[in-house]
Amino acid sequence: MSAINPGLDPSVAAEPIAVPPVVADGALPSEKVVDAAMGGGEPMGRSVSVALSSRGGRYIVYALVLFWTIPTFGLLASSVRPENEVKTSGWWEMFIRPKFTLDNYESVLSSSPSGGNLGHFFFNSLKITVPAVIISIGIGALAAYAFSWMKFKGRDWLFVGVVAMLVVPLQMAIIPLLRLITGGAHIGSFTIFPYLHLNNKVAAVWVAHTCFGLPFCIFILKNFVSSLPKEIIEAARVDGAGHLTVFLRLVVPLSVPALASLAIFQFMWIWNDLLIGIVFAGPDNRPVVAKLVEVSGTYGQSWHLLTAAAFVSMAVPLVVFFALQRYFVRGLLAGAVKG
């Protein structure tokens, strides 16, 4: 901030840049809305008479919660039971004869010939997800800034065009994009787009995720960035700060809440993706979710291994979910509003 502060109008600079109030009616749902969505009834100050719960309703909720929890719990329980137990008795019998082991995890993670080597694919997922999130949000933020604060002809049309790509299903674009990456584009002998030797490389997966994620990122970020206070940005411009300076020193720091929510949303989306993973990654650098589907065929009846493998693939999303639920919910709500 220091580089542009000296030139800023003191009254503007002195204004505390409290992030949430600034964006209260921006694109991101407010704290209050996120609270409401997650079930914090009390902070909303709602009176009991307005609340909708009733005794009968409570039992419905309990039943649904049970139905929603048992499958995941059963999988987790089975993954820590010995092979023999998994094969001969249901997981619920572990309450009668508790026997636990981490052997299943050891076998699916081990890189020995008989092991699943899932540890390797777990790292693949990180290798794919983290950069893909950074790239798509970085490029998206640049575009969001241009669409909000730069003046040029056809700006609104371009923005509409980019966002319209949201309705194009992945499947529509995936094959030609794959061809472009694995062979370039040519008309006759004339090369329009060079062959980049990205076959099966992790960079190909980054590119694919960036392409498919960009319209959404730009949509969310543009709404947010354009709702930042005009005075601050114009003052900085008048005082001679270039676009890059304004972007890096003002817009990015002010957009941290939006960037964080979007990053978590994108992270979950990319980590959990299957189609792009199997199409763009090579057999050796597949993400763990794609590997899981692959081993689900070969493990056949080795249920004890399959359960452990499934949990390895879910571990990170679950941790992110529990640690950063608020941001995730916020990202989801922002995404849902797009309609």
Partner: protein, 340 residues
């Protein structure tokens, strides 16, 4: 360890190169004269996006449409033959019917479940915990959800599928509904002994839709909860003063008020149902009459290598998404007018 370090380096180098190129280009704009300088800067900010969206989405989408009118080797223009094949072959007709079922049944039940939880958990003790638990499946991958449920639907020789255990425990349940605990739920299509016609979805397809509902309801719940708590208290109180019961207040005040939200959730869910691929791929792989359009697209294009026919499935998916989006827009506008 070396693996991890290598990956880390690749990532850092990749990102640095990208940032370096953009930073370098931006620096170069300084040498441009007056008006061109601003234009150059706009270009640096926008070129990555426009390039990726144009070359990575727009052109590919057009190309897929074009390829869907060619034969599989891509040599001959065949008009609508590929589309005709989708609707004339019995197995692909089943695929379309299945997808339709996913969208209609899946969406309807996700909305009902989401509304039920949002309504009945509202203000209940432990509301936050209940919603968190319902929401967990939304955090895991759809492929993972498929694996979770395979464990429940498992049949012989695996003896301990939860569903078989449950049906076995119900006295008097016919064998055709798993009364003996031996049903292969993901394989058998018959519903209580009645086998549906070849081009209609079987019970196994409905069981896959259950997985979809399980995975999608968390999102619906969260969105509905936010909407329900946004209904002005005074409206509900006024209704109650006029003698409305809680139930009447919900149906006459809350539901109409959150109409736009219901439409949004329906749209998101319907599009999710159309694109159902992960769940099918990780459970049945599309066998036993459970395939969907998105799954057939993958199977026919990537496994069977039929370019033209596979592309037609992708375009069909796109064509089906459009009316959903348009209906959503219309309903949103209508709901907006009603409130205004």
């Amino acid at each position: 360890m070396r693996d991890v370090l290598g990956a880390f380096l690749t990532v850092i180098i990749g990102l640095a190169v990208l940032a370096g190129i953009l930073g370098g280009l931006y620096a170069l704009t300084r040498f441009l004269p007056g008006a061109w300088r601003e234009r150059g800067q706009v270009a640096v900010f926008l070129v990555p996006t426009l390039f990726l969206v144009f070359a990575g989405l727009f052109v590919p989408a057009i190309r897929t449409i074009w390829v869907s009118f060619l034969d599989d080797p891509g040599k001959k223009f065949v008009g609508f033959d590929n589309y005709e094949e989708i609707f004339s072959g019995p197995s692909t007709r089943l695929t379309v019917f299945n997808s339709f079922t996913w969208v209609v049944i899946g969406t309807a039940l996700v909305v009902v479940v989401g509304l039920a939880i949002a309504r009945y958990a509202d203000g209940m003790r432990g509301e936050r915990v209940a919603k968190s638990l319902i929401f967990i499946p939304a955090a895991i991958s759809l492929a993972g959800a498929g694996i979770v449920w395979r464990f429940i639907y498992a049949g012989p020789p695996f003896e301990v599928g939860l569903l078989n255990q449950a049906t076995k425990a119900i006295p008097g349940l016919p064998v055709s509904l798993g009364g003996d605990g031996q049903r292969l739920w993901l394989v058998e299509r018959d519903i209580g002994g009645l086998t549906p016609p070849d081009s209609a979805p079987g019970l196994n397809t409905f069981l896959l839709i259950v997985i979809f509902i399980w995975a999608s309801s968390g999102l619906a719940t969260v969105i509905f909860s936010a909407a329900i708590k946004g209904v002005p208290e005074s409206l509900i109180e006024a209704a109650k003063v006029d003698g409305a019961t809680s139930r009447q207040a919900f149906y006459k005040v809350t539901l109409p008020y959150i109409r736009a939200t219901i439409v949004t959730v329906s749209t998101l869910t319907a599009i999710g149902g159309l694109k159902a691929f992960d769940i099918v791929a990780s459970t049945t792989g599309g066998n036993f009459g459970t395939s969907t359009i998105a799954n057939d697209f993958y199977r026919i294009y990537f496994v069977q290598g039929r370019n033209g026919f596979g592309s037609a499935f992708a375009v069909l998916l796109f064509l089906l998404v459009i009316p959903v989006v348009v209906m959503n827009r219309r309903a949103q506008v209508r709901a907006g007018e009603m409130l205004a």
